[in-house]
């Protein structure tokens, strides 16, 4: 179920992890900057309908680009991502008409190419992963395939950080937790009603439950859908 590419990208992220704390989006950004032929990477969390809260930037220019996008409301990372696709701008100057407030300042600051990927699963949207290059140039097919995996892992790390499991010993977002079958999303919807929480929090709780029991995400989700397992707000310790 886990692709070779996902295993490779996780190794990169684990290798970029520093210190004793949980693996976080900081490791994702640093690994992306190192491995994807880009000069910097950053992750912002959603605040309301737009990505706004900076979580980590691998360098000063990445942080500046996030700030510029936030203040102008323009740029690849400020896109609403209504289609769910990444916004890939290999030559930033060519997009000057699209983002007249953002592009001149970004180019003047030293960014010539930008790539932004929504961190989302259906109606769950937790943030945006952004990359920049100091020189114009597209991502290669391999880099593009890799960056989609980076975004996927960043999404899982943010969900698992919110549930408090990403700092646990033996935590790996790929082992048993990367199931994408329909049953996982159905269970997410059911749990959100059972607990009266958002879909994002429901998915985080489902993942935490699977991790705590060393069970596969899809198996736990199957138990929820078949009504063998119920998340009870009264017994909050259950997840």
């Amino acid at each position: 179920m886990v692709s070779d590419r996902a295993v490779k990208v996780w190794r990169w992220i684990a290798a970029a992890h520093e210190g004793d704390g949980p693996v976080s989006v900081a490791a994702v950004c640093n690994a992306a900057a190192l491995r994807l032929g880009v000069d910097g990477a950053s992750v912002t969390a959603m605040s309301g309908m737009h990505a706004g809260e900076p979580l980590f930037a691998s360098d000063e220019l990445s942080a500046l680009l996030e700030e510029l996008q936030f203040t102008t409301g323009e740029g690849p990372g400020a896109d609403e991502f209504t289609l769910g696709s990444p916004v890939l701008i290999p030559d930033l100057e060519s997009a000057a008409a699209r983002w007249p407030g953002f592009v001149p300042e970004a180019v003047a600051a030293g960014a010539q190419a930008m790539f932004a990927l929504p961190l989302q699963a259906g109606a769950i949207r937790v943030g945006v992963l952004s990359l920049y290059r100091a020189l114009p140039g597209p991502l290669s097919a391999g880099e593009l395939a890799d960056v989609l995996v980076f975004a996927d892992i960043a999404l899982q790390l943010l969900l698992d950080a919110s549930a408090g499991i990403s700092g646990s010993p033996g935590y790996r977002p790929l082992s048993g937790l990367s199931d994408r079958r329909a049953v996982v999303y159905q269970a997410t919807g059911m749990i959100s009603v059972q607990l009266g929480v958002s879909l994002g929090e429901a998915l985080a709780r489902l993942r935490a439950h699977a991790f705590a029991g060393s069970a596969a995400l899809g198996d736990v989700a199957g138990d929820v859908v078949d009504r063998r397992l119920r998340f009870d707000p009264a017994a909050d310790a259950d997840a």
């Binding site: 209504t82 769910g84 696709s85 597209p138 290669s140 097919a141 989609l148 159905q186 997410t188």
Partner: protein, 281 residues
């Protein structure tokens, strides 16, 4: 350009191929599957027409029926820029995004010219000269052949359906005809939907393209829990409501998630206290 014969040989009337040895049987099976697909696609055109569901289904059926390894679908947005709407595999997704990023590739050419672009061997000199970025990228993602079919009605081109093969191969005439027919029904469906909304609705139609399936699953779970039914049953409720109220399924699913769908009676719309639930397993 078009080479008769497909890899498994069960569609084409290839001399000496299985289709010739069992012509009646295979043709009948293919026709039957194609006919079923038309019924299925037509079924999605009534009532709350859901473009996303329709296009995802089209992409999946193309892979099943047309003996290709992957399919992708690009649709033009309000600015005339192609957007990825559906991809049957991760590799197809990468190749489609790569073409959009670089503004180069057979799928874009097909959209711009309104003509099919048939590339039996991506590695041959002609293809690599024409698409110097796309050709190596497609190869890296495991594809050796690509066929782009425009979604066109008269002089209006709205997107392309793209078929990918992992081995060099042409597009068999019988498969090409079937692909054309599938694309035509999709195109007419989309244009009819646009006409009925009386405005350039492309942007609205394209909402949540790649997420629509997941959004529908999440909404099924919410409905299943609220109405105490299975997710399968919840889907039937969702679909019936969509048709009876003429609301696209994906949009309705989004409303279910937002709590504004109107499917659930008001007294059930808020989470009930735990003690209020009837005894359940």
């Amino acid at each position: 350009m078009l080479r008769a014969g497909s890899r498994t040989g069960d569609v084409a009337a290839v001399p000496g191929g299985s289709a010739e040895r069992y012509p009646g049987t295979m043709a009948a099976i293919v026709d039957e599957r194609l006919a079923q697909t038309f019924v299925e696609l037509a079924d999605t055109l009534v009532g709350g027409f859901d473009l996303m569901e329709f296009l995802h289904m089209l992409t999946e059926r193309c892979v099943e029926l047309l003996e290709v390894d992957a399919a992708g679908l690009l649709l033009a947005d309000a600015r005339g820029t192609l957007q990825l709407v559906a991809a049957s595999t991760e590799q197809a997704r990468v190749v489609e995004l790569f073409q959009i990023q670089n503004d180069e590739g057979p799928c874009l050419d097909s959209y711009r010219t309104g003509q099919p672009v048939i590339v039996p061997d991506i590695a041959d000199g002609q293809a690599t000269a024409r698409w110097p970025k796309f050709a190596p990228a497609a190869h890296e993602m495991g594809f050796a052949a690509v066929h782009a079919i425009p979604m066109r009605l008269r002089d209006q081109v709205i997107g392309t359906l793209n078929l990918f093969g992992s081995a060099p191969d042409g597009l068999d005439p019988a498969v090409a005809r079937a692909a054309r027919a599938l694309v035509d029904i999709a195109t007419i469906g989309i244009l009819q939907e646009r006409a009925s909304r009386e405005q350039g609705i492309v942007a609205g139609q394209l909402q949540v393209a790649l997420n629509s399936r997941v959004i529908i699953e999440q909404a099924k779970g919410i409905l299943a829990e609220r109405l105490h039914v299975t997710p399968d049953h919840a889907f039937l409720i969702l679909r019936d409501y969509s048709r009876n109220n003429n609301r696209p399924l994906t949009q309705l699913a989004g409303d279910v998630i937002a709590g504004t769908s109107g499917i659930i009676p008001a007294r059930q719309a808020s989470p009930r206290p735990p003690g209020d639930h009837p005894a359940r397993r």
